[in-house]
């Protein structure tokens, strides 16, 4: 069961993003940088939610399309679609950069701890989804960057690591 690894007494600052019609939030502490959309190197024969590889200051960074991953529809090519660069920990403990391409990345929110709720349903297929926040009348779900990497994507990252 996913649990928020954050201090529950402090407000949580998070970057908002959209998937479909829903709003999600990813804690700023998980992020390295917010990047604009850019040309990616395509990776043939990978799951369709792998958007490609980017050259980030000389490092090959895998970028995942969160919209395909979660709804099956690719991110639109518009200005508000951005790449959230996160730092994730692999099974072997090594830190690794991962890009999450997401729509509607338009700002940050301050989530108060008293507005956090636990979802009643945990879906084993979506371990990246965390707590819910009630923010200005909207339900906002918190995403864990490190949980997006499951099974296949972990394997991909490790492959890439051997080459580079």
């Amino acid at each position: 069961m996913p649990l928020m690894p954050t201090d529950t007494n402090k407000p949580l600052y998070a970057v908002v993003l959209s998937v479909g019609n829903d709003r999600y939030a990813i804690p700023v502490a998980d992020l390295v940088e917010v990047l604009p959309l850019l040309t990616l190197k395509q990776l043939p024969q990978t799951p369709e939610w792998v958007a490609g590889l980017m050259n980030y200051r000389g490092n090959a960074v895998l970028v995942i399309d969160t919209s395909i991953l979660m709804t099956g529809k690719p991110c639109q090519s518009i200005v508000s679609t951005r790449i959230l660069l996160t730092s994730v920990r692999r099974k072997d403990g090594a830190g690794k950069l991962l890009g999450l391409m997401a729509e509607g990345v338009t700002g940050t929110v301050k989530i108060l701890p008293e507005t956090l709720r636990t979802a009643e349903i945990w879906n084993n297929g979506t371990p990246y989804l965390g707590l819910l926040a009630m923010h200005e009348g909207e339900i906002m779900q918190i995403i864990h960057a490190d949980k997006v990497l499951t099974g296949e994507s972990l394997k991909l990252l490790e492959l890439e690591n051997v080459e580079g």
Partner: protein, 230 residues
């Protein structure tokens, strides 16, 4: 492109209907709190929808790809210092950014009876605190008029709040131009052609592209300010 213009069309421009740009008798109740539409989250959200929903300009993707493929820009280098560059008359001058507390619009200056000189203009109210207000041009003896021949004031006059020990003063300048980082060895000697009255305030000159920026010695400046109070 078509879906984009359609999306803009569905935005409710309430600011024209019931906001500050409308002639409606019954105005939006939110104005009680926000005062002006530009402070309202509805207005901000609409703006975001318009600007953030734009299709990508041509070459956008490749430009950013090249940008982030480059090594990161150099971080802070020790031995560098930052100065705030401003304009007084025709001179571009600067002070260490560390002594500048804030830059604000010029406030109403209250003259001090029997005390005000050309250098000490009076007192001003900055966030409820009274500060002595000095004119940088007169303090440094820069005579170049801030007025153009047609009587219009040149540039964007600003008031800088600067800190000296525990005190804070307001200083009038003709324009704030930005900040500049420089290494110690980039500071060039003051040219002999500079008027002696101004040269005594200067630590040196910095080259910033085409422009040369005078770096003021804040200690000399504070001494001159204190002298003007006597």
């Amino acid at each position: 492109m078509q879906t984009y213009s359609r999306e803009i069309a569905v935005i409710d421009d309430c600011w024209n209907r019931i906001g500050v740009w409308s002639r409606a008798a019954n105005r939006c109740p939110k104005l009680q709190e926000t005062v002006h539409c530009r402070n309202c989250p509805v207005f901000a959200a609409a703006a975001r929808k318009i600007f953030e929903g734009r299709p990508l300009p041509p070459d956008y993707l490749d430009e950013w790809r090249h940008h982030f493929a480059e090594p990161p820009p150099a971080r802070r280098v020790p031995g560098h210092s930052s100065v705030l560059v401003f304009r007084v008359g025709g001179e571009a001058l600067s002070l260490p950014i560390s002594i500048v507390d804030e830059i604000c619009q010029p406030e109403v200056i209250h003259r001090l009876p029997h005390y005000a000189s050309v250098v000490l203009r009076g007192i001003v109210n900055v966030h409820g605190q009274l500060r002595l207000c000095f004119a940088m041009a007169e303090l440094l003896g820069i005579e170049d008029s801030p007025f153009e021949p047609n009587g219009k004031r040149r540039g964007f006059p600003r008031m800088m709040v600067i800190r000296h020990r525990e005190s804070r003063f307001a200083m009038l300048v003709d324009e704030v131009l930005g900040s500049l980082r420089h290494a110690q060895d980039e500071l060039l000697p003051v040219p002999a052609s500079l008027s002696r009255s101004l040269a005594k305030f200067m630590l040196g000159i910095l080259r910033d592209g085409e422009r040369s920026v005078g770096v003021l010695d804040e200690k000399v400046m504070f001494q001159a300010m204190e002298k003007s109070l006597k």
